[in-house]
Amino acid sequence: MTLFLYVILAPFLFAILLFGIGQQNFKRITLLASILPIALFGYFLSLTPTVINGDVLTSFTEWVPSLGINLDFRLDNLALLFSLLITGVGSIVFLYTSQYLKGHPKLLRFYIFLTVFMGAMIGLVTSNNILTLFIFWELTSISSFFLISFNNTEASSRKSAIIALTITGLGGLALLAFAVLAGELTGTYSIAEMLQSPEVFANNAYTSYLILFLFLAAFTKSAQFPFHFWLPGAMKAPTPVSTYLHSATMVKAGIYLLLRFTPHFNGNESFFIILLFVGGFTMLYAAINTLFKTDLKGILAYSTIGALGIIVFLIGIGTAASITAAIVFIVVHALYKASLFLVTGTIDHQAGTRDITKLGGLRKALLPLAIAGFIAALSSGGFPPTIGFIGKDLIYESTLNASINPTLLTTIAVITNIFMVFAGLIVGVKPFSGSKPESLGAIKKPHFILWLMPMLLAALSLIFGLFPQWVEVLFTHQITPLLTSVESPHLAIWHGFNLILLLSAITIISGIIIYFFWKPNHRKEQQIKRIEYLSPRSISLQFAQLFHNTSYFLTRVFQNGYLRRYIMIILVLLTLVFGIHIFINPRIFLSLKDIKALNWNEVVILFMMLISILFTVFTKSRLTAIAGMGVLGYTMCFIFVFYGAPDLAMTQFSIDTLTVILFVLVVYRLPKYLKLSNPTNRIRDGIIATSFGTFLAFTIIEIMNETPVKSTTAFYAENAYLLAKGKNVVNVILVDFRGFDTMIEVSVLSIAAIGVFALLKLHLKKHEK
C-alpha cells in the first residue's frame, strides 16, 4: 500500500516545506504545524480496527538491494501502539509549543527538528528492515542532539547535548553491529524473516554478542544504569522536548527494540535474566534519586528512568502477564509523565522557576492546571480509578507469579512504586498546595492551551482507568507473537480482595507518608552530591577528560608544526621497523656471483651522487646546498634512464628543476646564517640518516631476492593495448586503468595551489583580522 509509505515519509517532506515558509511567516501560522501530527494520528487511529484483527499493513520498496537495505515497513500491533503514542503525544506537544515558545526567535527551527524527530520515530517503529531501523534510530539521536542544545548560547546545554549524543551514539554503533551480525547469521535483514532462524538467537557461538550489542543499544537509548546519566542532563532542553523525546517516545525506542526482539530471543534464559537485573537495579537507583532533587524536571527525569527500569524489568520477567504489564505501563507512563512534564512547563512559564522549595499555593492562579497535575499525580502513584492503578496491579501480579524469587522481585517493585507515588505527588500536587511563598510574586493566568494540553492527557489517564477494556482492545491483544500462544490477562479495576490489593494499599499509604514527612531541599541535594564522584556520570566524564588530555599530549609531541620534526619521526619509525626486521631475521642476501659488473657510466653517476651528497651536507651556504640537491636529483634521473624508466626520468627531471627553483625563491631572501644547526643535532641527524639508508638498502636487497609476482605487470602489459588502445603502459595506467586516482591527485594539486595562493595573497584589512 503506497499511502503507508507516503505517511512515513510525510514528516520529512513537511520539514522541508516548513523550511521554505521562513521564520517571519511561520510566526503567524504556528498552530497550523500541528496539522501533521493530528492527521497522522487520525490515520493510525483509522487503521486500528484492521490491525488489531491481525492484518499487518506492509509496504516494500527497494532502496539498496545489493546491501539488503530496503524501505520495508510493517505496521503490526506493537508498531501501531508506538505510532499512536508518537503521533498522539506529538499532536499535544506541537499544540502546546505554539504557546509555550510563542515569539521565540528560533521557533521555526524548533518545529523543524520536532517534525524530523517525529518522522524518524515513526520510521523506527514501522521499519521491518533492521538497517533502515538503524538509520531512523540514528536520526532520532541527532534530532535529540539539536533539540537538547536548542538554547545553544548556554554552555551547559551544549555540553548536555554532546553527552547525550555520545552515549546514544555509542548505542547506535552497537545497534549497527547487532544489525550486521544478525543479518549475516540469519541471511536476511528483515526482522520478521529473522524469526525463521530461531537457532541463531537461542544458542549460537555468536548469540552472546548479539545480546551484548542489542542491550548496549537498548540500554543507552532507554537510559538504563549505568548509561542513564545523559537523561537528567537532557532536561536542559525546552520542556516540550523533555515531554516528547525524553519521556514519552524517544527513550522508549530502546524498550521498543527489546519488545521487538523478545520473540526472537524467546527461550534464551540469559536474555531475560540480564534484563531483570539491569531493569531492577535501574528502577531502584532512580527511585531513590528522586528524593534528593529540587528541580521539578530533575525529579521527573529520575522518575522517568525509574519507569523505564520498571518496563525493562517487566520484560525480563518474561511471562505473558509481565509483557502485558510492560505494554500497559508504557501507555500509563506516557500519559501521566507527559502530563506532569507539561504541568511543570506551564508552572515554569508562568512562575519563572521550577525549584520545588520555592513553589507552593499556585492553585488559586492556575486552578485548571492544578486539576491536571492532581489527576496525573494520582495516575503516577497508582491511585484508583486511574489507569495507573491497573498498571501497578499488573506489575505486582507479574512479580508475584515470576518464576524466580517472586518475593525479592515484588519487594523491589513495591519500593520503587512507593517512590513513584512520592515523585508524582511532589511534582503534581506540591506546587499547588499550601500557601504561596512571597518570593513568587503575582502569577498571570496562562493561555488556555497551556493548561488544556496537560489536562487532556490527564483526562485520558482517568478515562482509560474507568474503561480499561479500551486499553485491552487497543494494545494488549496479540501485541507480540510471544503472547499469541498464551492467554493474556484481563484488565480490570476491581479484582477483589487479594494480596495485590494489599500491596497496592501499602504502596500508596507509604508514598503519601513519605510525601508528608520528607521535604526535599538544597542541603540534602548537596549532601548526595558528595558521593557524586562515584556515579557513572563522573567516571565517564573523567574518562573523556583523560582521553582528551592524552590526545592533546600526543598531538603536541608529534604534530609540533616543524617539518624537520615530522621527517625525523617518520624516518626514526621506519628505521625501527626495518631494524627490528633485520634483527629478528638476520640474513644477508648478497651473493657475490649475482653482482654484475658496473658499467663505466654507472660508476661515474654514483661518484657524482656521492660528491653532491657530501657537498650538500658540508657546504656553508644555503644556495649551494640547494644546487647540490639539484645535482643529486639529476643524477637520479640517469639511474632511471639506465634501468629503462624514461617516464620516471622525465618526470623526475622536471620536478627537480621546479623544486630547485622553488627553494631558491624562498631561501634567496633568508638571512645568510652560516651555521645552519648545532653540532649535536647534526650528529644525531647523521646517525638517523645513515642507519635509515643502511637498513633500507638491506631491506631492498631482501625484496630483490623474493620471487617477484608478475601477475599485475602481466595484466597491464597484455591489456594496455587491447582494452585501452595504448602502448605506453605507464601512461595507460595513469589515464585509464587508474584514471580515477589521477583525477583525485589532480584535485589535490589544485587544492594545494589554491592553499598557497590564499595563504600568501590574503591581505586582510585591519577590521577583518
Binding site: L665, V666, K725, G726, N728, V735, V756
Partner: protein, 137 residues
Amino acid sequence: MKSVILNTVSKTLLPLLILFSVFVLLRGHYLPGGGFIGGLIAAVAFILHAFANGLTETRKLLRIHPGFLIPVGLLLAVISALAPILVTGEPLMTGLWHDKDIAILGKIGSALFFDTGVYLVVIGVCLTIIFTISESV
C-alpha cells in the same frame, strides 16, 4: 637577472619548449610522455622566461592568470570521465575511442582529453605556486 644571452635564448626557447610539451603530451599514449610530464615541461618553459625577462613580462605574455587553467583542466578531465555515462551509458571513465586514425595524432579518445585536462591543471598549479611565492618573498 639581467643577462642578454639568457634573455635572447629564453625568448626563442619558450615556443620551442611549449611545442615540445605538447608533443610529449600527444605521444604519451604510445611512447614515453603524457599530460603530467608535458605540463611540467610547459611550466618550466614559462618559469625560465620569467627568470630571464621578469614576472610582469611573462604575465603579459600569458594574458590570463595561470590559476585560470586549473578549473579549465579539471572541467575537461571531469567531462571526459563523465562522457561514457552521458554518451553511451557505460560506467564512469570507460575509454571512448574514435574508430579511424587521424593524421599525426593517431587514435583519438576520451583518455586523450583526460590527459589534456591533467596537462592544463599541472601547468596551472605549478605556475600559480611559483608565481605567487616569487611575488611574495
